[in-house]
Symmetry: C2
Subunit: 427 residues, 2 copies
């Protein structure tokens, strides 16, 4: 393998464009490929992952050693590692994607117009999907599988820390393609770790239909700044649980606790609790005891501190913070409307939940909170493609265009208009 | 009215941002506004347009005089003019939009998950829609009406040629808002003609949810280049009619002619005919006679020129050209597959139509042609929101993300996930 990372900037641009052109050609073929063939390729990829576990782990060890030498944190090294069970997870995912229904070709809304012409919408692949991701190498397989099932070619660009792992996984997926008569470029992989490749990918108008950056804010910001093609963003979450005046107290405690601690390091974990002032007695006391027992640090508003002066005070920054840790901001609100205003001002529009038994409040919350997932009496941790029944997910969009919330394979397609005429002309 | 056009660049940016902030606040209120109030405001706007016809025309004359002094073409001046019948058209459109069903609040796909939690999707407004348009002042009313009905605030920026006409229409629409208790900023209008305003609009992340540029390619290119927010593009069309080996000859002639000449200056007019070689005898002779009788210039491929040496030869550029005029490129193809390849290579992915009575060919054409509208035995001129039954349209998207083809009010909304739980926590 040539080390493209050492080539000049112009070469990187030409290299990326060349790969994208092959992906474009492959996408035309994939859009026409039957469900049967796509599923066969996915199942073969699963078999290859199981067969080649030790080869994959050999490459993975090169990344792990380089990572250790570079001084990556143990959390980063953990994310990099492809253990036996993680590789079995990759194989299972490939089989699960094969088992999903194929969204391509579905026709909806076919209606007869007054002139007898029939107009409907047909679901078709987007074309070429560019994915820019960071450390976890299993994203290579996830993205390739979801794109293939939805009839798209993918153009993958993983993080430099996982270059050996990503490369071996991509080659293996390509083998599953060609063994089934599909173009190798169905899984197009950018081997260079040169950062110019990211910029080049964002500007491939006419070749790439959408870019999905998965990673930290600085990656996403850079993509948004330079992109001349559509971007589907997967920002992280500042999620709220609002415990209403009419909440069941035990339910409120359970949902707050679960939303915060069930897996604090992920985007759908809660970061702020809003508590109605009528719940600032027993409920709040019990909730604080629950949180203390689980070692959660609470940062309270001024009213909370009047009641519990030993707590740490929340600063203005805390209301926007995504801790991804055992820390939570807590605010006592005077009314339902104050809770809505706080969420409108500070929420990252990912997931917000109300705990209440008040019909009008729950219905207003559903309608008026402008987030990708809005919940009644449920933990924010349910905001997930698998939990929603979408199958494997490509990420969670906090954008409003095209896809909002967890994105499954349907979100990797679009609908075109189809017209059945009988010689219709316009007069 | 202050002439913001003379202010400095920094001021224009601050001015645009200030207006966008008001639009953002208005959007929160609009999202919660009932259908009844939105419709009442639309009907009042219609009444005001009828009442104020002479005031509007007075402002319109200022634009027409300035346009004449600047030497605008008669076609441009025609597009600028707000005649009595055009203003009656604006009023009728406002009433028609009021009569459309309100898409906001619709819940679909509400399903029960294995744990008893119910997950569905609720249709909600996008938020703030930025529209950048060129000469026709009635777009001001069209855009405001469609955005209001779909619960969005709009941020409008019209062309400098129509500044007086646009300003008077915007003020009148704002009057209809405030008279009905809606925020004036529901119809936010940028009064400066400074071109920096366009660039500033494209970078209002967190304030504007999507930018829709309507105009020539240079406007769209500039928006795409600078935008850091999503763009819905309304490119023009290089549309094809393919007359298959198994086409009914008369139907083929009718559809070709109608697609080309019914209104040659618009984006859904055909620009290239592809004719199967088996149709290069009587059919082609009759078609060329039809075209000649209607003064359509034909630019033929090499094979066409062998048969008709007097025709002008098509250059490579002709296959990509959008003439918007009485000119058509014509190519004889050896097979259905050659027609598909030509369309894949040259189509602008707007609208393409096949004329054929062959079942397999028509179904392959529908599936495999990757354009926003794909038709069987119908004129490309039907690619239109009104003809498709969507009501008034905001433009035709040649993008694949979010909306493809004619965009009605539903395309100005998105779907969020909603969850009904009973105290569900994740284990």
């Amino acid at each position: 393998m040539s080390d493209a990372a050492t080539t000049t900037i112009n070469d990187v641009e030409a290299y990326v464009k060349g790969i994208a052109e092959e992906a474009r050609k492959a996408s035309v073929e994939l859009a026409r490929t039957s469900t049967k063939v796509k599923n066969r390729a996915l199942r073969e990829a699963a078999a290859l992952v199981r067969q080649c576990t030790s080869d994959i782990q050999k490459q993975n060890r090169l990344d792990l050693e380089a990572g250790k030498a570079k001084g990556l944190s143990s959390a980063m090294l953990d994310r990099l590692e492809l253990t036996d069970s993680r590789l079995e997870g990759v194989a299972t995912m490939l089989e699960e994607v094969a088992a999903l229904p194929d969204p391509v070709g579905e026709v909806t809304d076919l209606r007869v117009r007054p002139n007898g012409m029939r107009v409907g919408r047909m679901r078709v692949p987007l074309g070429v999907i560019g994915l820019i991701y960071e450390s976890r190498p299993n994203v290579t397989a996830d993205a390739a599988a979801l794109c293939l099932k939805s009839g798209n070619a993918c153009l993958l660009r993983g993080g430099s820390e996982a270059i050996h792992s990503n490369t071996v996984l991509a080659k293996l997926l390509q083998e599953a393609m060609t063994d089934n008569g599909l173009p190798k470029a169905a899984v197009s992989f950018i081997e260079t770790t040169d950062r110019q490749a990211v910029r080049a990918m964002c500007r491939l108008r006419g070749l790439v239909d959408v870019i999905i950056p998965r990673g930290g804010k600085s990656l996403i910001e850079a993509v948004v700044e330079h992109a001349t093609i559509p971007v589907l963003k997967h920002y992280d979450g500042n999620c709220h649980v609002y415990v209403d005046q009419y909440a069941d107290a035990q339910m409120g405690r359970d949902i707050c606790l679960n939303s915060k601690i069930q897996r604090p390091g992920v985007c759908n974990a809660a970061e702020t609790f809003l508590v109605h002032k009528e719940q600032s007695g027993d409920f709040l006391e019990n909730l604080l005891a629950d949180l203390k027992a689980k070692n959660v640090e609470v940062r309270g508003c001024a009213k909370t501190l009047e009641l519990y002066p030993d707590l740490k005070a929340a600063t203005e920054e805390d209301w926007s913070e995504e801790y991804l840790d055992l820390i939570v901001a807590l605010k006592i609100v005077d009314s339902f409307d104050e809770a809505l205003e706080h969420i409108e001002k500070y929420s990252s529009r990912h997931t917000d939940s109300i705990v209440s038994n008040d019909y009008a409040a729950t219905q207003r919350f559903l309608r008026e909170v402008d987030s990708s997932s809005v919940m009644i009496n449920a933990s924010t941790r349910f905001s997930d493609g698998g939990e929603y029944g979408l199958g494997a997910e490509m990420g969670i969009s906090t954008d409003k265009m095209h896809a909002r919330g967890p994105m499954g394979i349907v979100e990797l397609t679009c609908q075109k208009f189809i017209v059945y005429g009988d010689g219709h002309i316009r007069t």
